[in-house]
């Protein structure tokens, strides 16, 4: 890998750590993180979900080096080759089993979305099973989307890059966050079997108009009437806008944590009770806007409020404009940056572009050696939209070039 050993890139703080690690792995550039929560007295250094993500990276790559400082506030990561679930690298029966710790506060989408970004460039198909007492499939208060939204709002976008085949996200067991907000006991399997040399260059310029809204209302371990109440309220908000609104209901019983840890399970052994709603609006040209909301871990919010707020959240996401919503923009922009050496264009809402995460992503990409973006006003009648031109890096799938 290291033909010309470059000094590791120096980055600060834990902000968007997962995405930076992904960029490091994709570009093959070593990276050193400093000042990871240095001033926190109780949770200094890397959090448990970040450690878990590093473990996951180690499992799906070959030859990556991870060095963590004694205090946990420093991290050196030297990426290896992305092997995926190739036999002989921790995959048993073609499946990598990844256990999330019980004190994980992030939803499983925190792991899924970056992993999906790695998967098209991997050598072998990616097949990862997330289990353990920390898998939260619902949306979380920390802002993670639910696993349903990953499947319905993020994964379809890969089709525009020519990555379509054999992609599955199986939600085997649902779980909301525990009452403490930490951990659930869900089970999710990601199968990503389409590996490419380079993703296609895309020109997503036409947001279209929203023509249908779909959604999933899920509840674990609580009455199914919660679903009906959420759906009713959300439809009350959304139906005047589009007639084609349908929200599916998924009821499941409370999960039992697979590895019984007394400290994190209550006396019945059931965890992760709650309910939530995931909404996806699809436009006539295939743009997707999503919204996610789940009951807070402490409870005390009626399902009507969740349904209404989620619907408003969806409307807000649509009102930002652009062909890609804020939640999906990092994925699309990163794939464009990793594409062939050609200019791809993407129409984004101004509010999306000026959000912290996108500006941060642009800076990170530049730091990792990708070319800067060109931004101009959209020429179409939609004001408030900008067109971002992204030149691909043309590096693509290193493992595939060799193999």
């Amino acid at each position: 890998m290291a033909t010309t050993p470059q000094a590791p890139l120096r980055l600060r703080t834990q902000r968007s750590l997962a995405h930076r690690l992904i960029l490091s792995t994709l570009t093959g550039r070593a990276v050193r993180f400093q000042q990871i929560r240095p001033s926190s007295l109780t949770h200094t250094g890397l959090a448990s979900h970040e450690i878990s993500f590093l473990r996951l990276l180690e499992a799906v790559t070959n030859g990556s080096q991870i060095v963590i400082g004694i205090t946990g506030t420093e991290l050196l990561y030297k990426p290896g080759l992305i092997t995926g679930s190739a036999p002989g690298s921790g995959a048993s029966g073609g499946v990598i089993r990844h256990e999330l710790p019980a004190d994980c506060i992030r939803g499983v989408s925190y792991f899924l979305i970056p992993l999906c970004l790695l998967a098209p460039f991997s050598k072998a198909p990616m097949n990862v099973l997330f289990t353990g007492p920390g898998v939260i499939t619902s949306a979380t208060p920390s802002g993670d989307m639910s696993a349903d939204s990953v499947r319905t709002a993020i994964l379809p976008l890969y089709a525009q890059f020519g990555i379509t085949n054999n992609i599955e996200l199986r939600i085997l067991r649902r779980s909301n966050p525990n009452t403490s907000g930490k951990g659930g006991a869900g089970e999710v399997q990601l199968v990503f079997g389409h590996q490419v040399r380079l993703p296609k260059t895309v020109h997503i310029m036409n947001p279209g108009r929203v023509k249908k809204i779909r959604g999933v209302a899920y509840c674990t371990g609580v009455s199914a009437s919660n679903n009906a109440r959420m759906i009713e309220e959300a439809r009350g908000v959304l139906n005047p806008m589009t007639g084609d609104t349908y929200i599916f209901s998924d009821v499941s019983s409370a999960p039992y944590p697979t590895s019984r840890d007394k400290a994190y399970s209550n006396d019945k052994g059931k965890t992760g009770l709650g309910f939530g709603l995931s909404l996806v609006a699809e436009s006539s040209t295939g743009s997707l806007y999503s919204a996610d909301l789940a009951s807070p871990p402490a409870g005390g919010v009626p399902p009507e409020d969740i349904g209404r707020q989620c619907a408003y959240q969806l409307l807000e996401s649509i009102s930002f404009g652009g062909a890609v919503s804020l939640a999906a923009a990092p994925t699309v922009l990163t794939l464009m940056a990793m594409g062939s050496e050609d200019v791809g264009r993407l129409q984004l809402g101004k509010d999306v572009l000026r959000s912290d995460s996108i500006i941060g992503l642009a800076r990170d990409l530049k730091a990792f050696g990708a070319s800067a973006w060109g931004v101009r006003e959209s020429t179409t009648e939609l004001d408030g939209d900008v067109v971002v031109s992204v030149v691909g890096r043309g590096v693509g799938n290193v493992g595939r070039k060799i193999a």
């Binding site: 499947r151 319905t152 994964l155 379809p156 890969y158 089709a159 525009q160 379509t164 992609i167 599955e168 996200l169 199986r170 939600i171 199968v191 249908k212 779909r214 999933v216 009713e232 309220e233 439809r235 009350g236 139906n239 005047p240 007639g243 084609d244 609104t245 349908y246 599916f248 998924d250 699809e282 295939g286 997707l288």
Partner: protein, 279 residues
């Protein structure tokens, strides 16, 4: 929410609150002016100004109410009724049509729902052309008759002489006819060919058949009739026996003993090398 959804009614006529206010305020002083204006605008072109539209309330009614003011009885206030705002809320009722099972499968399965949603094709299915109806129907009828004739020729020998006139087969004959047709289509052997019989009997049958064939050929030759060429019965292609998996590839296993014939031994040993140079 459900009750609210159900009870809402259609808004019958929607009036701009601003314009309606203007009309009520200006109705009295400018009613004659408005009439003139309306007349002017109908003959020429619309005038600029804040009062482009005639008031929605018809002015004749206003006059009538003026006359009624003189009488003792006030009557019902029509004025109020004119401005009664009848509101029917019409919110699109949630489509009661259940989303199809296919939609459920595409959205709720493990696979990401594809972007290109399949829309029910509006293109009408092409129906068979009815224009050249006559020709095709005649053709079809002819084909049918042809088939019936062919079958009659082939299967007439099976027709029961006792049952008069019916050309359909029944009972045992029907099975025989079916068997004939199957053989025509390509079945290897007749269903009625006996599978198991004593060896002597089978030998007798084949001998008799051969004898019959020889007799036929001899007579034909004597009478100068040229017959079709005799086909020699082929040897079975499967000269290499398919042996069981794991079974010995040579010889035959009998009673737990592998028996090798002389041929087998010779094959194993290979051609014998004759030493050319004797020393």
């Amino acid at each position: 929410m459900a009750s609210a959804l159900g009870k809402r009614k259609r808004r019958d006529h929607i009036t701009d609150p601003e314009t309606s206010n203007v009309s009520t305020a200006d109705a009295e002083p400018t009613s004659s002016q408005a009439l003139f204006r309306q007349h002017f605008e109908s003959t020429f072109e619309p005038l600029p100004g804040p009062f482009a539209r005639p008031p929605l309330v018809h002015n004749l009614d206003a006059k009538a109410s003026d006359e009624e003011l003189e009488s003792d009885w006030d009557g019902f206030s029509e004025h109020g009724e004119e401005h009664a705002d009848i509101v029917h809320y019409a919110i699109p009722v949630p489509s009661e049509v259940d989303v199809s099972k296919g939609e459920y499968k595409t959205f709720m399965s493990a696979k990401p729902p594809s972007l290109a949603t399949k829309q029910a094709s509006t293109a009408k299915r092409r129906k068979p052309d009815l224009t050249n109806n006559d020709e095709s129907s005649i053709d079809a009828a002819n084909l049918k008759k042809d088939l019936a004739l062919q079958r009659l020729l082939k299967e007439s020998h099976l027709l029961d002489p006792k049952s008069s006139l019916s050309l359909s087969h029944s009972g045992q004959n029907r099975h025989r006819v079916l068997d004939l047709r199957l053989q025509d289509v390509g079945s290897k052997s007749s269903v009625f060919a006996q599978q198991k019989m004593p060896l002597a009997q089978r030998k007798g049958i084949t001998a008799k058949a051969r004898e019959r064939e020889e007799l036929r050929r001899r007579e034909a030759q004597e009478n100068g009739i040229i017959l079709e060429k005799a086909t020699k019965s082929k040897k079975k292609d499967g000269s290499i026996r398919q042996r069981g998996i794991g079974a010995p590839s040579v010889g035959k296993l009998q009673g737990g003993m592998l028996k090798l014939s002389k041929k087998d031994v010779a094959q194993i040993e290979g051609p014998k090398q004759v030493a050319r140079h004797k020393r």
